[in-house]
């Protein structure tokens, strides 16, 4: 019998979502998920990044009960999603990627429908608060077909929040949403997180993950290739660039500077040095000394950290 290690046991205790060896192969033979393991901590905002077709939506759909897993186990707050589906699903709210709404229902009716569907009695005050938070209150009597795409997206969020979930999945929630609406949404998301709701977000807007997430997971070709605290991830994988803007342009990099592997940019007016922040020595001091010795003068300098997007692109492009 396998006994969980103390560390593993503690990790599961603090996890609200625990996924182990989850695989999914569709009837077509396409393997969407390959033995995925993931622990989501209570109260965190976890950003799941990955290119199209990486398995993000399949993963979320299995957890929510829309897709059947081929193998593996998922528990939500300790409840198995198959054997204890009622307890597990009651805790989950899902904002799907597709804008799927009933055309003829009113906003008020559809949000109340969702609350009932998840086994909760009427609570007009709560529904009113949710609609007001999402700037939908003045649209409450409008039929859904009369709403814009952005408004429909808000309705989907309101529906997902109507039963007060403890674990909220936002599957590309800001796709096709204008900047103002997007900011409103993130305000709501932050407020939810403050009340202890755990949020799992997939997005194509990586700057959103960079702004909001506590941890970042990267999925590619059905495999989780990285899960890391966002700040640590950027610290570990982030490369920095030092750009020296030269006082006078140079035609080529002098041989004396060859060991620093510089790039000459802007028509010979800038030298770019890429270094690793993880290294004990960045080599900047030696570089500046060598530049001075080579008689090259510079009028300005700046450094730039890799963005999460650049890190993400590097990761999914790397051969597996």
């Amino acid at each position: 019998m396998n006994t969980p290690s103390p560390h593993g046991f503690l990790a599961q205790m603090s996890s609200i979502l625990s996924i182990s060896n989850l695989s999914k192969t569709y009837d077509s033979g396409f393997q969407a998920l390959k033995a995925v393991n993931l622990e989501i901590e209570r109260g965190e905002l976890f950003a799941l990044l990955g290119p199209n077709g990486a398995g993000k939506t399949t993963l979320i759909s299995i957890i929510c009960g829309i897709v059947t897993a081929s193998s593996g186990k998922v528990t939500v707050d300790g409840h198995d999603i198959i054997r204890e589906f009622r307890a597990a699903r009651s805790m989950i709210g899902l904002v799907p990627q597709e804008l799927t709404t009933d055309a003829f229902e009113t906003v008020w009716d559809t949000v109340n429908f969702s609350r009932g569907l998840f086994g909760k009695g009427k609570d007009p005050d709560l529904v009113e608060r949710v609609l007001k938070d999402l700037s939908l209150w003045d649209k409450k009597d409008n039929r859904l077909m009369t709403l814009s795409g952005g408004m429909k997206r808000r309705v989907l969020i309101a529906k997902a929040l109507a039963h007060e979930p403890r674990l909220l999945f936002l599957d590309e929630p800001t796709a096709g949403v204008d900047v103002e609406l997007r900011r409103d949404m993130w305000r709501v998301v932050r407020r939810l997180q403050e009340t202890g709701v755990t949020i799992i977000l997939t997005t194509h807007y990586i700057e959103e993950a960079e702004d909001l997430a506590d941890r970042v997971g990267v999925i590619n070709k059905g495999e989780i290739i990285l899960v890391e605290n966002k700040a640590e991830l950027m610290h570990k994988l982030g490369r920095k660039q030092l750009t020296l803007h030269l006082a006078e342009p140079i035609a080529a990099i002098p041989d004396a500077l060859a060991e620093h592997q510089l790039e000459l940019q802007s028509g010979g007016e800038a030298l770019v040095y890429t270094y690793d922040t993880r290294g004990e020595r960045t080599g900047i001091t030696a570089l500046l000394q060598d530049i001075h010795a080579a008689g090259i003068r510079f009028r300005d300098l700046n450094t730039k950290q890799s963005s999460l997007e650049e890190i993400f692109v590097d990761l999914v492009k790397a051969p597996s």
């Binding site: 897709v67 699903r89 009933d102 009716d109 998840f118 086994g119 529906k159």
Partner: protein, 253 residues
């Protein structure tokens, strides 16, 4: 049991009836009234009584049954097909709702609508012909059993259908002909012996016969056989739905 969820789906489906009142309730009443005018008053006046019942009164159970079958089927099939078509089915599938609760809610709403239509048609028929119901309890039993059974059948079609054409296929090409050939407008004893035997393979014969017996105490087949056949069809539909949910057929990938 998640009664809130059953209530939510049931009310959602019934609200759809309210929005489409003309299509759901008034339209079948008008078309049935036309049957009475044409078959009952115009043609029926030239047809002698059938087993001691005026022709106009004779066709009432068959007409109600014809509407029950088509209404139960179309209401239930549309009710589950439309969320599949629009994608909103995701919410039902991801909710803490058991398969039994989903079926109770959708089938219950579809059956309720068709029972309402059946009772309205019965009341409408009372305006055209003198009605007697010898066994009202049996009449209600057949009304409810038939509505539920065909709503279950419609639910199956709604899950099976890949497009709107397929959704219409079974009601148009199978159920309506079976209802017309199942004795809605005649007693099967009026047919030549060979055709009487063939007709017994039509399941709708048993529904109409049992229903007509509850009105006038006369039947093409024994009421016990009618009830047994109805329950058999009900059991077959339940078994298919159980299989659908067990396998996730056309619902889950």
């Amino acid at each position: 049991m998640n009664l809130y969820a059953i209530n939510a789906i049931y009310r959602f489906e019934m609200a759809r009836t309210g929005r489409t009142l003309f299509q759901s309730i008034i339209s079948p009443v008008i078309s049935t009234s036309l049957y009475f005018v044409v078959f009952g008053a115009a043609i029926g006046s030239r047809i002698s009584e059938v087993d001691g019942v005026s022709y106009g009164a004779f066709i009432v159970p068959g007409l109600i049954m014809l509407s029950l079958l088509t209404q139960s089927l179309s209401n239930a099939s549309f009710g589950i097909y439309f969320p599949r078509f629009t994608g909103t089915i995701y919410e039902v599938l991801s909710a803490p709702v058991s398969y039994l609760e989903i079926v109770i809610a959708y089938v219950g709403a579809a059956a309720t609508k068709s029972i309402i239509v059946g009772l309205i048609i019965l009341a409408t028929a009372g305006l055209f012909v003198p009605l007697e119901i010898q066994h009202p309890g049996w009449m209600l039993l057949f009304l409810v059993l038939t509505s539920v059974t065909f709503a279950l059948f419609g639910f199956i079609i709604g899950i099976w259908a890949g497009n709107f054409e397929q959704l219409q296929l079974v009601p148009l090409l199978i159920v309506t002909p079976l209802a017309f050939l199942g004795g809605s407008f005649y007693s099967i004893s009026m047919l030549p012996p060979a055709w009487q035997t063939v007709t017994l393979f039509n399941p709708v014969v048993y529904l109409i016969s049992g229903f007509r017996w509850s009105f006038y105490g006369m039947a093409d087949v024994g009421v016990g056989v009618s009830l047994a056949m109805t329950l058999l069809f009900l059991a077959i539909c339940i078994a298919i739905i159980a299989w659908i949910f067990k396998t996730g057929y056309r619902l889950k990938s």
